[in-house]
Symmetry: C2
């Protein structure tokens, strides 16, 4: 044997080698690999190579064999109010404004504080990790408490620096909300799993002056701006009455339409408004379950897909969903788009898987770090068992993930190369502690 | 103690007492009981009484304690092609006619025979039992083989006596289909778990002459008539071209509109057609997942509910769903109706639970036997665990079943008072045998 060849074939030590039945890397688009292996070191993806090549190239400290399982990038929940998991099913079968003004807002006014947010976010993190979600984009009061729970869970989070005109236990006015949010961002700037976005609640709860500040801050700090937009027909008509224009035109006037904007819901869009979002490089957080459950409507995702607007998927809060489950959201996005457009070919399985991963990452400005299995990216992953008898046979792992499997089939969730959920149990969140904290809040909410 | 009182309080022996946390009896409508007990004897419901009363009144041979669980009537799958579970995900993201003519029908022509139907129906029964379904209304070739698998599973089935004009391995022409179906009905007449319906495939595959025979047979034999109807816009416009009228008008002309009719799908209905179905006491089998997945459309269930037309829920076959899961169907029915009507109050949780149980039973003409927990009815039941940490907190068991829980939370399924599924496993269907039979057909279908 030649010394050169010997030298070339000496394997590189890596922390972990994962050998699943299939890998769907999302990039390149639309492919499902079998007989491949993912190598991980120091929390990053080193490479994705055929199995025989891996044996020569890598010397892993650990190997994780996943027969019958498919490996995906971790799912990204592009819109949630994590702490609201404590209000899961608190008021069902109610329209949005009645649900908000008669049930949710009064309960929030009475109960929401740091303890509520800490407990609710921990429950939400446990639920999301169990279902293969590795990153969530949050909007809620007391983001400091949400950050504590995300850190405890070992979960990647984008904390929304919420702004709303009305006072709460958290802050007194929009300036106070923003000041508290920015101070939190300074405090937590060094946490590799945490990042931030500006989160003005909605056009109907935030004033022009505040939006202008947020537009400036977004540009200066290069932060995503995450807001409810065109969720209901009433929001649109109220805006015309009050501001003379539709909310999206108002946002354009206020300088908010740019690639930082994540328009959450975007249910009611005229064709010209879809063009507008495209021209300005805006993103959409599509929340099909919440939109249907609250009777807000079904957005024209076929048109949004045809225009090539980037979109991700969000669960919204558990009070309007009532699960923080992106498998459900993937299925509902595909089904609602096909049913409402009467075209079975729109939002096909690979498009949906991409939305739930890379689409979310791009919207958050983090597609250089997460959302696909390209070498160099963070090893945020989920593995899903497709060989359970209940979901046999399987002809195509990609469409099986969208139309057959559920979060109950997720076996492992990894963040930065570390296992954070295995065998249905989040590693860092003991179920008994979770259960008693939730029971306490359940009692208070029903008292 | 007085002898009379002593006599009165002597408890009655019963086979089984079930003590769940909650009971939703469906009749009376809209209620959720706690602290109640269901008494069962010889496969029938004896009574549903408060727990303290039960101790005095009943001496059970066995008691089943179900803390944290809710007890419901077994779910009724009002439309399926059970054997097609072997083609789960065989061709996804395709419109109905292309899906049928280029994928499903050619595969059926090549592979479908008694062995295929036996294996596919057994898989379907296992899946349905796992998810709390106790009765299914089937339409497929070789109903004899489907009956064998339903009997093996211990499941209640309504076998469709299929009729279609084109020849298959099963029968040569419509008369042959009907003759074979009726002969099967004679053979199996004594099985208490089996019953029958006439199952002309659809207006576009069955001739007038055959429909006329079916109308006569339905009336003579008092059999439900179960057919695909107004599934797609194309079906409606083709009928206008070919017959000069819409399919429903054609069915009226042929004498099919009466309380025997179960109109499957009924996606595209004019307001006058909704009136027509109401006037004639017809039933609808609503299959929301299949309708959305195939791009057929979203029916106006808000209008159908407002008219008071009886409807049940169906999964359709696994090739167009891709799960035989009525929990999913309940959720999709509620969400699609709210989203498309933009009214969050339509198809509320109790309405949905009723559709998935009593609605199906009424459509099948079996509401005197199944579909609710009235004394005297068959003890067809399912129990669902609502105390898993993943789905906490729970404010209302009824809406929790529709919006939060899934088939993964079903712990027990009982038919005629006998446990047929426990701890996720169908009692009479060993998973290894099922798995190898399915693998064999998977190989053939991909060869």
């Amino acid at each position: 044997m030649e010394p050169a060849a010997f030298h070339e074939s000496r394997p590189t030590r890596v922390d972990l080698l994962i050998r699943p039945e299939w890998i769907i890397p999302i990039e390149p688009a639309g492919i499902t690999l079998s007989g491949h292996v993912l190598a991980i070191d120091k929390g990053r993806i080193v490479d994705l190579v055929p199995q025989n090549e891996a044996t020569q190239r890598f010397q892993p400290d650990e190997t994780l064999d996943l027969p019958g399982q498919v490996l995906l990038p971790g799912l990204i929940n592009l819109h949630t109010h994590a702490a609201m998991s404590l209000m899961r099913g608190y008021a069902d079968d109610q329209p949005l404004m009645k649900w908000l003004t008669e049930h949710i807002w009064p309960a929030e006014a009475r109960f929401v504080g740091p303890d509520f947010v800490r407990a609710g976010t921990l429950l939400a993190c446990a639920e999301m990790l169990r279902g293969g979600i590795t990153t969530f984009n949050d909007m809620y009061f007391f983001p400091q408490a949400a950050a504590e729970s995300a850190r405890r869970a070992g979960m990647r989070a984008v904390l929304g620096l919420i702004a709303i005109e009305f006072p709460s236990a958290y802050a007194t006015d929009a300036d106070d909300y923003l000041a508290k949010g920015l101070a939190l961002r300074d405090t937590l700037a060094d946490d590799p799993l945490l990042s931030f976005c500006l989160a003005p609640h909605a056009p109907y709860t935030v004033a022009d002056k505040t939006f202008e500040k947020i537009a400036t801050l977004g540009a200066q700090l290069e932060l995503p701006v995450h807001m409810h937009l065109h969720e209901t027909q009433q929001e649109v008509s109220d805006s015309i009455k009050l501001h003379g224009v539709r909310p999206l035109q108002r946002m354009q006037r206020l300088g908010l339409l740019n690639p930082n904007l994540i328009a959450v819901h975007a249910v009611h869009l005229e064709p010209t408004e879809i063009d507008l979002l495209l021209q300005h490089g805006c993103h959409i957080a599509h929340c099909p379950t919440s939109n249907m459950k609250l009777g807000s409507g079904i957005p024209d995702m076929a048109a949004i897909q045809a225009h090539g607007i980037n979109f991700g998927l969000g669960t919204d809060g558990a009070a309007s969903n009532n699960r923080l489950d992106l498998f459900q959201e993937m299925r509902h996005a595909a089904l609602a788009a096909k049913g409402s457009s009467r075209d079975a070919t729109v939002l096909d399985a690979h498009t949906i898987l991409r939305a739930a991963t890379l689409g979310g990452a791009r919207a958050l400005g983090q597609d250089d770090r997460i959302g696909s299995l390209l070498p160099g990216k963070c090893a945020d992953l989920c593995a899903i068992r497709l060989d359970d008898w209940l979901i046999q046979p399987c002809f195509d792992p990609a469409s099986h993930l969208v139309y057959v499997a559920g979060r109950e089939n997720v076996t492992h969730t990894l963040i930065d190369g570390k296992i954070v959920m295995r065998d249905g149990l989040p590693i860092h969140i003991p179920a008994p502690a979770l259960r008693s904290a939730v029971a306490l809040w359940h009692n208070r909410l029903t008292s």
